[in-house]
């Protein structure tokens, strides 16, 4: 682990200044010996490790993290309970997609996780904190990578737990209809893992967008524009063109990821995850370029 021992001790630190006691030393004594300062370059080569620990601490010391993760969890699990509970109550038919029904909350939860992804970066640009961050870690690619890794790690775990609970709860509620799925059924493991991956990738797209846009509102606008508005706009296109475009929109991909039999006009689940990963990589690359090329 890190060089946890405090750097060097401040030679005669101006501790007394805390309460306004005079420091005692006159200014005009430049002749005094400079305290020996071992070069910082001798420190261990753990710049990235330190950046990760820094970003981890940052993530868990603001309330928005708790709120957005809590909201994502409640939405995912809550909508599973409502959708599956209501269907079971009315003795309805789940159309052979009990898993998709229990995971319908991800369409809402992605908003909360997108917000968190955006905030991880835009809150720093908005407040100016990013300048302190870059002064502490001058390699901006390290900063972006550390943010992305910490965020993705937290969201993968959180989204997986939420999807798992939503699935188990939803299937439990569907038991009375006899249509419930279990982990032994084909595609089920893929669906739960796919939903987790989908949520994580959407969050990362938000993070990358914020690195480009730098403003919370702007980045959120574009993120949700891509997820919701685009989907609606495409409905107004002529039929053929719709079929050409729809499979490549995030919302369509989400459907194909959580269904056993994806709708006709869509990529396969694997194809959707792969394409969404490409989108994510492109946005993060754009963010990296923007961070490095533009002044903070």
């Amino acid at each position: 682990m890190p060089p946890d021992a405090t750097p060097r001790d401040l030679a005669g630190p101006p501790t007394g200044l805390a309460d306004g006691t005079p420091p005692g030393l006159p200014a005009d004594q430049p002749g005094r010996a400079v305290p020996p300062r071992p070069s910082a370059a001798t420190g261990r080569r753990d710049t990235f490790g330190n950046a990760l620990r820094c970003e981890w601490t940052k993530l868990w010391t603001v309330r928005s993290t708790y709120w957005t993760l809590f909201a994502a969890f409640v939405i995912t699990v809550g909508l599973a309970a409502i959708a599956c509970g209501a269907t079971a109550n009315q003795g309805g038919d789940v159309g052979g997609e009990p898993a998709a029904l229990s995971l319908s909350g991800i369409f809402m939860a992605q908003i909360a996780l997108g917000v968190l992804g955006v905030l991880v970066i835009s809150s720093e640009y908005g407040s100016g904190m990013i300048r302190t961050t870059f002064a502490a870690v001058p390699n901006r690619l390290v900063v972006l990578a550390a943010k992305a890794v910490v965020f993705a790690g937290v969201v993968v775990v959180g989204a997986f737990v939420a999807c798992l609970v939503a699935f188990v709860l939803g299937q439990q509620l569907l038991r009375s209809t006899g249509q419930q799925a279990s982990f032994g059924d084909p595609e089920i493991v893929r669906i739960v893992l796919g939903a987790t991956a989908y949520l994580t990738l959407i969050g990362l797209i938000g993070l990358g967008l914020a690195a480009v846009i730098r403003h919370t509102a702007g980045a959120l606008g574009i993120l949700f524009g891509a997820m919701v508005v685009l989907q609606i706009a495409v409905q107004f296109l002529p039929g053929e063109l719709q079929e050409d475009v729809l499979p490549y929109l995030p919302a369509t991909m989400a459907v194909s990821i959580v269904t056993v039999n994806p709708p006709a006009m869509s990529l396969s689940a694997e194809g959707s995850i792969a394409l969404l990963s490409v989108y994510t990589a492109l946005v993060l690359l754009g963010g990296a370029w923007s961070m490095v090329a533009r002044d903070a």
Binding site: L25, A40, A135, D295
Partner: protein
């Protein structure tokens, strides 16, 4: 030690810093002065790698900032105290920054004690006053116990006790052998803190000199003399001396420019002129600063502030070292 080497920074067509070179040496407080918009903040941001120079470079202890592995342990900077996430507590904020450079958490408490924020360590930064934010910024700069410190307008928002504290702190840091660069647009503030001054205007170096040098060079230095034979004395002083000017001062005194007090006294004695007062009026650092930056103020009013406030000020063009053509 900080070396600014032919630094140029352009934003679009605006030149913020123009071929600026100077060095900041350890062991003394170097004041970094210039009117608003002169390029002080841009230069300081370039030192810590936030602004990429259009041309030229900045070295800290002989290296570029980006190549320093744990930069906070070499350079501490207070650039904009309000640039913090308001939702974190002071100690969480410092802990995040400490972690980024492998600095142990115990150091966070130490610096909070040093700046007098220990009692509010758990409070959210959003609730802090401007003065408390400045103290937090100082704590951030001191976190890595660096040998080089930059403070951009550190007294902004501080109460008198805080101003007194930060002056003492900067002097102490310099006395410990550290390199301390403090920017300000207030010459009077620098007069109380700095040993050495780097003055810039419109992105260019105006002067790089010690405070003492700067004062003795100012064209506003004058000799104040009072005599019941003022008319005779005035004629004597200007007789055959094209570079000496005499103007009326307050209290029916005369102000003599271009001659020192002993010379005035000797001349008076030689001609039997009675003197009631003879004293040297040194220009304030503020006046010296105004002289130096007269040509490089970005946002100037039609009014020369000195002319406006002091009717006796010299209208002569100041001689400055390194001033722009």
């Amino acid at each position: 030690m900080i070396e600014v080497d032919r630094l140029t920074k352009r934003y679009g067509s605006t030149v913020a810093v123009d071929d600026l070179s100077f060095q900041v040496l350890p062991g003394r407080v170097t004041g970094f002065l210039g009117p608003n918009g002169a390029g002080k903040s841009t230069t300081m941001r370039a030192v810590v790698g936030l602004d990429l120079p259009t041309m030229g470079e900045v070295r800290v202890n002989g290296r570029s900032y980006a190549s320093i592995r744990r930069p906070l342990c070499e350079v501490g900077a207070l650039l904009d105290a309000s640039a913090v996430h308001g939702g974190r507590s002071a100690s969480s904020h410092l802990l995040c920054i400490a972690r980024s450079n492998g600095i142990g958490p115990s150091r966070v408490n130490t610096v909070l004690e040093m700046v007098g924020l220990a009692t509010v360590a758990r409070r959210r930064i959003r609730t802090f006053s401007l003065g408390m934010l400045q103290r937090l910024g100082v704590a951030t700069a001191l976190l890595g116990n660096p040998g080089v410190l930059l403070f951009d307008e550190p007294v902004n928002g501080l109460d008198p006790e805080g101003i007194w504290w930060i002056r003492a702190l900067m002097k102490q840091l310099a006395a410990e052998g550290r390199t301390v660069l403090v920017s300000s647009h207030l010459m009077s503030e620098m007069a109380l803190t700095a040993d050495h001054l780097v003055v810039i205007g419109r992105g260019r170096l105006v002067t790089d000199a010690s405070v003492t040098d700067l004062l003795s060079r100012s064209s506003r230095n004058r000799v104040r003399v009072r005599s019941p034979q003022a008319g005779q004395l005035s004629a004597l002083l200007t007789q055959d001396r094209a570079d000496v000017r005499v103007q009326p001062g307050p209290d029916s005194a005369l102000e003599v420019l271009g001659m020192d007090a002993p010379a005035v006294g000797e001349l008076a004695a030689a001609h039997g002129v009675v003197l009631h007062e003879l004293s040297t009026q040194q220009a304030s650092l503020e006046e010296a600063f105004m002289d130096l930056t007269r040509d490089s103020v970005d946002y100037r009013t039609g009014l020369d502030p000195l002319q406006a406030t002091s009717p006796n000020a010299s209208p002569g063009t100041p001689t400055t070292v390194g001033s722009r053509p």
